[in-house]
């Protein structure tokens, strides 16, 4: 059965003052119906740009010269803007990190949620009714009254729920979440994660969760894609990723985190160096300068290759690591 989303060899290039820079290259992955997947990486890894490219929402100065994006069997690239717009919001939805800038401060919450529907052809009163129902489903109390409030009257957690409501009200098949809980308090984050988990289950909705927080990801998804310097370096089921990461970057990242529950507090395992800037990615494997497992062959750029039940872009299998 064809996957819901199939991305092949996607690249994103920026053309600015510093010339043409490749920010994302050769990204390929699949997401099946109702599957939850995480896209993990640090700043500069290109994770947000990848998803913006998928949605066809790259900003000025950015373009995507190669790649195919098939959603529900249809090729999104080259699709006329009108058709793309019909998909966005209705079948393919996105939520973001800062609810204050992604919610219109001048518009009532209820109207904003309803707008997703009216923009796709639903009548106003029907949209309004469904909007209020959706607000209740995301756990906003007293939806009839709160639908008439403005975003600034809500707390951060509530605003985030409202944004989730605008994204989910039309029942999309795929939700892309770009770090929506990073700015929230940890107890509120827990509530939002529980909400999303529940909706994933009940609506059989596929999710792509973008994050730099491996902890958040562990609780939420079944598969993890790790990005580094614009490439996917590991694609693994979540248990395998945490138990036995197949790429040295993933392993180093996991090892550098303190674990609440550690009984001995040893110095954290640090990774030397810094992630490369888009204009200065090393040739061959981009992680090579910082990699404790680097060998001669790493001067050649590795593609994703099968490693146990995962895929990793590394020449050195885990069994042979020092």
């Amino acid at each position: 059965m064809e996957p819901l989303l199939k991305v092949s060899d996607l690249s994103v290039v920026s053309s600015g003052r510093e010339g043409r820079q490749e920010i994302v290259r050769g990204v390929s992955f699949e997401v099946r119906e109702a599957e939850s997947v995480a896209l993990v990486g640090e700043s500069g890894s290109g994770k947000s740009l990848t998803m913006l490219a998928v949605m066809g929402l790259l900003g000025p100065g950015l373009s995507s010269p190669t790649g195919e994006v098939r959603f529900g069997g249809r090729e999104l690239r080259g699709m006329p803007e009108g058709e793309l717009r019909q998909l966005r919001g209705a079948e393919l939805s996105m939520i973001y990190q800062d609810p204050m800038t992604s919610l219109n401060p001048m518009m009532r919450i209820g109207d904003q949620v309803a707008e997703t529907l009216t923009a796709h052809g639903t009548g106003e009163s029907e949209a309004s009714r469904r909007a209020r129902k959706e607000l209740a489903r995301v756990g906003i109390p007293d939806p009839d009254r709160t639908a008439r409030s403005y975003p600034h009257e809500f707390s951060g957690g509530m605003r985030q729920r409202a944004m989730i409501a605008t994204a989910l009200v039309a029942g999309p098949r795929l939700l892309i979440a770009d770090e929506p809980t990073t700015a929230l308090d940890v107890t509120i984050q827990q509530q939002i994660l529980a909400l999303v988990r529940e909706r994933q289950r009940s609506d059989r909705m596929a999710t792509i969760w973008i994050s730099h927080d491996l902890g958040v990801v562990a609780q939420l998804v079944t598969r993890v894609l790790v990005m580094y310097a614009g490439r996917i370096v590991e694609d693994a089921p979540v248990r395998e990723l945490f138990a036995a990461p197949q790429h040295p970057y993933t392993a180093a990242l996991l090892a550098s985190l303190p674990h609440a529950g550690d009984l001995v507090r040893a110095p954290l395992a640090q990774i030397g160096g810094v992630p490369p800037a888009p204009g200065s990615v090393p040739s061959g494997c981009s992680f090579r300068p910082r990699c404790p497992q680097a060998v001669e062959k790493c001067l050649e750029d590795p593609a994703l290759m099968p490693r146990n039940s995962s895929l990793a872009a590394c020449w050195v299998p885990r069994e042979e690591w020092k």
């Binding site: 003052r17 640090q270 030397g272 160096g273 810094v274 910082r290």
Partner: protein, 295 residues
């Protein structure tokens, strides 16, 4: 002690970077180079006039040579009194620059100081400063300048004072706004924590970080000052004749434009060159002085 912190040094930091001094950066950019050239030309002409290096005395009349079109003797022709247009332009430029530099210099120093103090301390100091500037803003600029000159009398010094008075409130406002946000900047906070005195914080940390805004404002003010000085002398309120002034030359040339167009174009061109040159120079300077601007 080196083992205390382990770091992988960035290869580029192995040697200290070589940096260009600001004037090189200025001249390397297009606007900076053109601006510097144009402004420099006007400045040189003015300085030459002040030093007496003029082809003819700007005031002396040569009645036999009235209204001559440009020739080798008189490079820009003569006016209705037989005075050398080129020499008069040079002297006029000197007068304009003299007035503008004094006026803007005063406005900058006084205005920026008040603005920074008002922004930093807030409270009633700020309140008073803002209400005073409100009063000044209530008047249209040129009218205010006119009124001051009318009250003080003609002459280049009074024109300079008038322009300074009009522009000071603008500098106050323009300096105050960024100070309000810089006051809360993290590095200012760090400075307070490190026990830096207020004068040090203002001079070393706040002022340099509002300098881009101030520089641009200075060039705008200079352009406006030159234009205003010209307007005021056009209206007869500047230096009394026969002292040359660009505005007055334009005024006198009104009636001669058809017969002797050079008498109109020459001073007008000088004004335009000065204003454009200053604006471009301002842009170039602002970028050249900012270390975060990569070329």
């Amino acid at each position: 002690m080196s083992e205390v912190g382990v770091a992988i040094r960035l290869p580029s930091a192995a040697t200290a970077p070589t940096r260009e001094p600001w004037w090189q950066r200025l001249l390397a950019s297009r606007s900076g180079a053109v601006g510097a050239a144009l402004t420099g030309a006007v400045l040189l002409a003015a300085l030459a006039a002040l030093a007496g290096l003029v082809p003819h005395d700007p005031i002396v009349q040569h009645p036999a040579d009235r209204l001559l079109s440009p020739s080798w003797t008189y490079l820009l022709g003569t006016d209705q009194f037989g005075r050398d247009t080129l020499a008069r332009c040079m002297a006029g430029a000197a007068a304009s620059l003299q007035v503008s530099l004094l006026a803007v210099g005063l406005a900058t120093v006084v205005g920026t100081t008040i603005g920074v103090i008002a922004g930093w301390y807030g409270g009633w100091i700020d309140l008073v400063a803002m209400r005073l500037t409100d009063v000044f803003f209530a008047f249209p600029a040129i009218l205010l300048a006119l009124t001051v000159v009318a009250a003080l009398g003609r002459g280049w010094f009074n024109v300079a004072i008038a322009i300074a008075i009009v522009y000071t409130p603008i500098f106050v406002r323009m300096a105050r706004a960024p100070v309000l946000s810089l006051r809360e900047a993290q590095y200012v906070l760090a400075g307070r924590l490190l026990g830096f005195s207020v004068p040090r914080l203002l001079l070393r940390h706040v002022l340099p970080n509002i300098s881009s805004i101030v520089i641009v404002q200075i060039t705008l003010a200079l352009s406006w000052a030159i234009l205003t000085e010209s307007s005021l002398s056009f209206l007869g309120l500047g230096q009394p004749p026969p002292a040359p002034s660009l505005g007055q030359m334009v005024s006198e040339a009104k009636s001669l434009a058809v017969v002797a167009p050079w008498t109109l174009f020459a001073p007008a061109l000088v004004i335009v060159i000065a204003v454009v040159g200053l604006n471009l120079l301002g842009d170039g300077l602002r970028d050249a002085l900012d270390p975060t601007q990569e070329r």
